[in-house]
Amino acid sequence: MSYLLSLLVPVLFIAAVCLFLTVVAKICQQSGTAEFRVNGELKNSEVSLGTSLLEACQEEGIYLPAACGGRGNCGLCKLKLSSGTTKADMFEKIHLGEAALEEGFRLACRSKLRKNTDIAVPLELLNVKKFEAALKSAVKLSTDVKELQFEILGDKMDFKAGQYIQIYYQSNDDKAIRAYSVSSPPSQMEKGLFTLDVKLVDGGLVSTWLHSLKEGSQIDFTGPYGEMTAADKKHKDIILFAGGVGIAPMRSIIREYLEEESKVSKKTSKNKKGKKSQKSQKRLMLYYGAKNLEALYEHNYFLELSSKNNNFIYKPVLSEPRLEDGWEGLTGMIDEHLAEQPVSVSSLILICGPEAMGEKIINLLSQKGVSPENIILDAL
């Protein structure tokens, strides 16, 4: 009898608790709607109260950057509210700071629609579109990084080398968004192809899924996003800092640079034989940090490139080289080696890697007199 009770009572109790929660959820269901405007234009006059601004934007086909999938961790979904601001929560306070909050900035994933709202969305984000692609091939670059090549289905994406896309993952009980930099140059997109370097994260929902994709499997993504690009920039010297898988966008930038160089040199040899054009004098320097030689994928390619091309300088740094690596190059952290390196203050600096690495490099560079406008960070 007591065994029966021990079984029956908990089951009945849990059922009662579920019922209670259903009733509470019904009572607490948001009722009412509000107007949702983007840059002053009415997009939807009946958005349910309580919808997050990120969701409201998605419904209208506006895909804001949201690398953390709306968990309030990345701070990328920041936007300005012209009207309808509500009290900011802890995540918004941490990411935005008092001054920005005062100006009306909020995180779209954390702010909910509570009244008529008007948000300001920059033009380049309005151009972000949704795409579909199918996996064409997968190549292992290191123990935990795979290069996935996709073929875009339908319209091509117009992007600049260094930019990233957001992949949408959905299963029966999970939903997630993750950001990945495109590692192929934009010229590949003309053929409808692009590649991503995907690092398998321990317990990572999306990276595990991407690593398990079979040829022909389809993905949904939006893009392009990101400011970390050298396109349209006139700087003569470009210094790239990549930490770990942060090398992906740099691969795109370097390949585009090489393509441009070869175009220019072809033109030059056609027009004025022997004389090099001014345009080809762009110099590229790559600092690439990884744990050990295994994780420093594409190392041989960069080595070869630097030996062939005088305008490309390659500085690999290993933080924990293994004995079998036989490493004789730089060790430690990238910033430790930057201190003694002379840097031209007019250089363009692009950084992609862990935030702590980026901050240290930025500090050092500002001490060297590089102005903040010339530094672009894409924190992983």
Partner: protein
């Protein structure tokens, strides 16, 4: 419950037998929570809120359901369900009816469902066979005690980056050292009061 009894429960739960520093329950947020004192305070308020409500609900459950049916050995299971349901219900309620309160500390509610301090308070209260009033007071005091320690810790942790701490210790190690010092100072305060009471 006499006034002296009430004061001693409050004093013990906030200071001398602080749930965090004396029983080492609910330490994860102490170590991992950011250095933002405001966030720490808000989370403390949420913990106090949930601890008090859940201990009261668990008291009723223990006294009027588990006790009569002789199912006290299933206490843990029932308490966990009550805490999880309560945090969920409170979160929904605050989100709907008190959005301003929700953004301050409602966002911590899902984290609290797995906070061992909250479960610990309910269990201690029933093991000590407290009455309803004593249970509620004890739970409230424990919540306030937790709030006090976490807020103090956040305020102290803010200074860590400015100090020259041993690199091998790091911020986590330093947090443990700070917690140990706090535990000693809380104990010292309780001893002072004990001395005053005896004299």
């Amino acid at each position: 419950m006499t006034l002296a009894n009430a004061i001693s429960i409050i004093f013990a739960s906030v200071i001398s037998e602080n749930i965090l520093l004396f029983y080492f329950l609910g330490t994860c947020p102490l170590i991992s929570l950011s250095r933002d004192p405001e966030a720490a305070f808000n989370m403390g308020v949420a913990v106090t809120f949930v601890t008090t409500f859940s201990a009261a609900a668990n008291f009723v459950l223990d006294r009027y359901l588990l006790g009569p049916l002789g199912l006290q050995h299933l206490r843990l299971l029932f308490y966990i369900v009550v805490i999880a349901a309560l945090t969920q219900a409170l979160e929904m309620f605050l989100d709907r009816f008190l959005p301003a309160v929700y953004v301050s500390f409602g966002i911590f509610m899902p984290l609290l469902a797995v906070n061992c301090a909250i479960l610990g308070v309910s269990i201690f209260a029933s093991l000590r066979e407290y009455s309803f009033a004593e249970t509620s007071l004890f739970a409230f005091g424990s919540g306030v005690g937790w709030l006090l320690v976490v807020s103090a810790m956040a305020a102290i942790k803010r200074r860590i980056p400015k100090e020259n701490i041993p690199p091998s210790l790091g911020e986590t190690g330093m947090s443990m050292v700070i917690a140990a010092m706090m535990a000693m100072s809380f104990w010292a305060v309780s001893q002072v009061f004990k001395g005053v009471a005896l004299s």
